[in-house]
Amino acid sequence: MKHKVTIFSLLLLLILACREPFEPDIEPSDQNVLVVEGYLDSDGSPSILKLSFTSELDGPIQDNSGLLGASIFLESSSGNQFPLTEIGQGEYLHETDIPEVDTYRLRIFLRNGNSYTSEELRPIITPDIIDAGFVKNETGVEIFITTQGDENADNFLWTYEEAWAFRPAISSPFKYDPDVQDVVIRGDEERNDICYKVSPNSDLLLETSSRFEDQFVFRQSISQIEQGDEKLSVRYSILISQKALSEEDSEFWEILKKNTDDLGSIFSPLPSLIGGNISFDQDPSAPVIGQVSLGKVRQKRLFIDNREVIPWGLEEIPEYVGCFISQDTVFIESYPTKLQSGIILPVRPIIPEGGFNPIGYLTAPVNCVDCTRRGSNVPPEFWED
């Protein structure tokens, strides 16, 4: 409901309001605030803890070399230590099955001697996703999830990653082979008429199950795909991650979300100070950003095929504006000069009446034909057709 207020006020602003870029002079400030991110899996599935530093707003991302070679471990209340292994770029891998009845602290020792300790962490076992599905409505397709909270898991965070197959504006099985100086049929591994794109999404969806009867979160909306979106032009997949959060975790994510989505519209709240559950041992008043959680992530993958949502009515794709097949035939003798560069690709053979071999090809610009310009022609590992 809070979001509704924001949406409302944004809409209100559209009436008479005006939006302009704002670039204030920000005093250079201490940029060495450590950022810790991770939801560590308690039953041994690989999970990643990521360290970074804050950087200037308009500057480049901070050099994180100071984060190399940190020593990080989880320490149980009984004194056992479970180290994380460094995998580079500030990332550390955790894949130990830890007893879920115990409580833990995350300890971080940087090479420069600074050390950080988390508050006490208690693993939260995320309940299973009961159902994930989709429904077609007037504006497109809504993807939803159904789950149920329990006494340990009341607050939920959902994130998702999308993947979809798509086609170019103009499909062509042909390519120009400079070795034989002729147009040939593409091999399977060279296909450029169907591609895949994987796109992580940074939306944060938070909900408290105790708002609902029996903590039953029924058909919680995760994502909406607008009618005609290319994502559903062929086949679409979404991986929904469900994480149960403690009360404090939930507050942190709420602030993070608010501070990102909700700034400066008429009635939006004042920005909140973001902190987390990590503190700097050498100076407990210094800021550290990050809320580390322990638990079990539940995931569900969903596939939606274009056939399930027809009529879909594909919207025009900006990259494909102005894509059409050139009416000028490129004849065999000019293949090397016209097709060598790869700016245009052969798409339709011109076969004379009674003949068998093409005397030339109609062409189209490469960005209209080659889908690998916008994705990969190799389906991702999880892809099912």
Partner: protein, 911 residues
């Protein structure tokens, strides 16, 4: 008739010219002086030249203290009780003769002749001509024969419409005892017994006089003519001193006419925007419901429509004022010394006076603007009863529809209306009943899925009783409520209906007792019964599976008694002192958490719960409030004032947005949320310049505030059962200096106000989960150090009136992102300390023109047009700034609400 009218007209022109040749004003003490010396003194001071026969004036003794008085006034006094007459000619010759006036023939200056006993000219009808010369005997000589003085009181009403005349000056001519009538037209003067001449001056109208013979206490009601023409005020010199003489400080009164002349957004006359032209008042932005007075939060203003508390004084989220200007007669803002008869808020009292109906005839007025239409009707119901009702409503969404193509506002809908009904019944001359009713309703939806609505509802009845000439009492009983609701139907399974409501019953009795010339006692009793529903959310529609959540209602009672005395010690020094004692009690049913004593109030420190039965006392707070102020007159033209007062407030607005939103709910003080308290000390210097045409004032103040509410990071304000866990108890302090230069007469009028002020907050030293900015003082959201407002009004002719309004203020503080980091797949921002930066400064110029129709008396309806441009320069004044990731990169934006010149036009009529 026509001739009379012409005469009238000329007379007034002459009179106005006379008032403006006001270089000829006299000051000084003339004690037991013979007339010749007096004449010499005056001749030295002015360019008047006296012509008289020695023997005529031999017996005349001048015994006067004059401050900036006009010569005719002085001569009227001097010659009262003699048979001497005077005439002043165009060359400023003063001709004194006995028995009959010297005729100067029909020179152009003829109409400047000013006479004491007007038996020759007839400027009003014969009834009143008779009234002017008749000797009224007041009281009986058998009443208190030992007393040398007596009190005359009464009501001044208008001949044209029978309504009480507010702001008329009743002046006695010997000692210049005077009083300005209140909204009820009431005046009261205590005078030595004997013959007097009372002069009644209605601003912009005729001067009237009555001869009285005061034998004892008594009443004299006077009906005086208002004018058809809108004329310059005739400045009664002693009246212009009122800013210097009055005891109050930090009071801004604005007439509805002044407000109506100001350029307004889409032409909707806005009382709150009128208040914003005065020093010490600012707002965080254009679309904000509230205003901030002297560094206080917006919920610290008590907004009274007559006796009713209005919780949300705006329409459409703060774009327009919720008060219909046709149903109000004046606005007063008390920001310095809050009178002892008001209490319950920390910063200020905005008193909006209701307008009551015309006693003589039915009439009406209305207008059509871009957004709304309004209509009001008034008149007598019976001999002693009058009514005035009015309404205003949006009649079309065309402004929105116009913009719908450009924006995605499908299904948007804005509508609002407000209704007022005021009835006044005069039982007899000692008992008056007044009833006021007010209803405002707003409904919006900006997308088809969510509907917002809010509503103010107020009714109050007042019985005013004049016990005797000294004691006046009024008794009010009323009901105020404010509610808002949000209905969301985006997802049928999740559809909700949220509602909030605050209600209060109030009972007040106020007494004013004038003991003698030196004391005015005010005392009374106020009781408020609060009943507040902090929020209920219900499933909406048959499919919704949302669980109903209903926060426990909060109930409390508040009693205050007060006593105050305005004590005139001598002519120079007056003091006002008094106090209130407030008793507040929250009672059950209520369940409250118990926390570890001395530890921060957090969820983890909950050690139990305590339930209170119905009516059982939950928490009691009580304490005094002090009101002290003093005025010392330095000389005729200037005075010094000082004041100190303290206040308590039990009702708090829960808001963590920079502007008040209609979805902000109110909260009563409870076990953990203590009453806000505060005090203010102020000192002011007042001076009249240019012979009273220009008023200057400077006031400095310092305020402290305790138990203010701030909120910790991530606080949830809606449907929070444990709101005390999210509140940060804060202290505040504010200080500032305000300068005001105001010219009230002439064709060019206006005011220039400059304010320098600061306002700071700090998380209090109590244990708390979070200390904003490490427990240091930080600027509050409405800390805008420099504020300049220039309002200029130029009267091109009697029918064309133009107003230019210029507004500058420092940008308000904001908390800005200072660095970025990656988290959960996106760039996120890290914020600076609270309010460490400011948005760009605010600057705006508005312009408006008011066109009056012609002034034929017999027209069926009088019409006028207002048009103008809001934000003439089209400057995009940022309302706020925000940052948002655009394609993964964080960009800053500033938002302006009225970023273009907004023209408006309104047609007004009255009949």
């Amino acid at each position: 008739m026509r001739k009379l009218f012409l005469l009238l007209f000329l007379n007034f022109f002459g009179f106005a010219a006379f008032a403006q040749s006001g270089g000829e004003r006299i000051s000084g003490l003339f004690a037991q002086m013979n007339f010749e010396r007096f004449a010499n003194t005056v001749e030295n001071q002015t360019s008047y030249e006296f012509h008289f026969r020695q023997k005529d004036v031999a017996d005349v003794r001048v015994n006067l203290q004059l401050s900036d008085a006009s010569l005719p006034n002085a001569l009227d006094e001097i010659f009262s009780g003699t048979n001497l007459k005077y005439t002043i000619d165009g060359e400023l010759g003063v001709w004194i003769s006995s028995e009959s006036r010297m005729q100067m023939n029909f020179s152009p200056q003829f109409f400047e002749i000013k006479e004491r006993s007007d038996d020759e000219t007839s400027i009003v009808d014969s009834v009143d001509r008779f009234a002017r010369n008749k000797l009224y005997t007041i009281g009986r000589s058998t009443d208190d024969p030992e007393k040398s003085s007596a009190t005359i009181s009464g009501i001044v009403t208008s001949i044209e419409n029978g309504e009480p005349m507010e702001g008329a000056i009743v002046l006695e001519r010997v000692n210049y005892n005077q009083m300005v009538t209140g909204p009820d037209g009431y005046y009261e003067l205590t005078l030595p017994k004997g013959r007097h001449t009372l002069v009644v001056q209605n601003i912009g109208g005729f001067q009237e006089q009555r001869q009285i013979n005061l034998l004892g206490d008594g009443k004299l009601n006077m009906r005086i003519a208002e004018t058809v023409l809108s004329l310059d005020e005739v400045v009664v010199s002693s009246g212009a001193l009122s800013n210097i003489q009055k005891l109050d400080m930090g009071v801004q009164a604005i007439s509805i006419d002044e407000v109506k002349r100001l350029p307004a957004v889409l032409g909707e006359v806005d009382l709150v925007r009128g208040i914003l032209t005065t020093p010490g008042v600012n707002t965080v932005g254009e679309a904000s419901v509230g205003f901030n007075v002297r560094g206080g939060a917006a919920d610290q203003n008590l907004i009274l429509y007559n006796q009713s508390t209005v919780f949300n004084p705006s329409h459409v989220f703060g774009f327009f004022s919720a008060f219909n200007a046709d149903l109000t007669s004046g606005v007063e803002l008390y920001k310095g010394s809050i009178p002892v008869n008001y209490g319950g808020r920390l910063s200020s009292v905005l008193q909006i006076d209701a307008d009551f109906g015309n006693e003589e005839k039915f009439s009406g007025s209305g207008g059509i603007g871009l957004l709304t239409g309004r209509l009001s009707l008034e008149g007598p119901i019976s001999e002693n009863t009058t009514f005035k009702i009015g309404g205003r409503a949006t009649y079309s969404d065309w402004v929105l529809n116009l913009l719908e193509d450009e924006t995605d506002l499908n299904g948007s809908d804005v509508s609002f209306y407000d209704l007022n009904a005021n009835i006044r019944h005069e039982i007899d001359e000692k008992n008056i009943l007044e009833f006021t009713g007010y209803l405002s309703q707003d409904d919006f939806s900006f997308d088809p899925d969510t509907t917002f609505n809010y509503r103010n509802f107020n009714v109050a009845g007042t019985w005013r009783h004049f016990f005797n000439d000294q004691l006046e009492g009024s008794f009010t009983f009323g009901y105020d409520s404010y509610e808002f609701g949000i209905i969301g139907i985006e997802n049928p399974l999740n559809s909700f209906d949220f509602s909030f409501e605050v209600e209060q019953f109030h009972l007040r009795s106020d007494f004013e007792y004038r003991k003698n010339e030196n004391h005015i006692f005010k005392f009374g009793f106020h009781a408020i019964q609060y009943d507040l529903d902090p929020g209920t959310i219900q499933p909406f529609g048959p499919e919704s599976i949302l669980i109903e959540q209903d926060l426990e209602r909060e109930r409390a009672r508040e009693f205050s008694i007060y006593f105050g005395d305005e004590f005139t010690i001598n002519e120079e020094l007056s003091i006002s002192y008094g106090g209130r004692y407030m008793f507040y009690n929250m009672y059950g049913q209520q369940t409250i958490n118990e926390y570890v004593p001395g530890a921060p109030i957090t969820d983890s420190n909950v050690i139990g719960e305590r339930s209170f039965g119905s009516g059982e006392s939950v928490k009691t707070y009580h304490g005094p409030e002090f009101r002290v102020s003093a005025r010392y007159i330095l000389d005729n033209q200037s005075s010094l004032k000082a004041g100190f007062n303290t206040n308590r407030q039990n009702l708090h607005l829960l808001t963590n947005t920079s502007a008040i939103a209609p979805t902000d709910s109110w909260k009563l003080s409870d076990t953990y949320i203590k009453p806000q308290t505060g005090g203010q000390a102020s000192l002011g210097y007042y001076r009249n310049l240019a012979r009273g045409q220009v008023e200057f004032s400077a006031e400095v103040y310092y305020r402290y505030m305790r138990n203010l509410l701030d909120f910790r990071s991530g606080a949830t304000l809606i449907l929070n059962e444990n709101i005390e866990q999210d509140v940060l108890n804060s202290d505040g302090r504010a200080y500032g200096i305000e300068f005001l230069l105001k010219k009230n007469v002439g064709d060019l009028r206006g005011s220039l106000a400059y304010t320098f002020s600061r306002s700071f907050l700090k998380t209090s030293d109590d244990p708390s989960i979070e200390k904003v900015n490490n427990g240091e003082f930080y600027p509050s959201n409405y800390d805008q150090p420099h504020n300049v407002v220039l309002a200029l009004n130029y009267e091109l002719s009697k029918r064309i009136n133009t107003t230019l309004n210029t507004n500058y203020s420092t940008g308000r503080p904001v908390t800005l992102p200072i660095s970025k980091f990656e988290y959960a797949g996106s760039e996120r921002v890290f914020f600076s300390e609270r309010n460490a930066y400011r948005i760009p400064d605010y600057f705006r110029i508005d312009f408006s023109v008011n066109l009056e129709g012609n002034h034929k008396v017999n027209k069926v309806a009088h019409a006028s047009w207002s048009f103008g441009v809001y934000n003439l320069l089209g400057r995009s004044n940022p309302y706020s700034v925000y940052y948002t990731p655009i394609e993964g990169e964080i960009k800053g934006f500033q938002l302006s609400i009225f970023a273009r010149p907004i023209p408006f036009i309104t047609y007004n009529f009255r009949f």
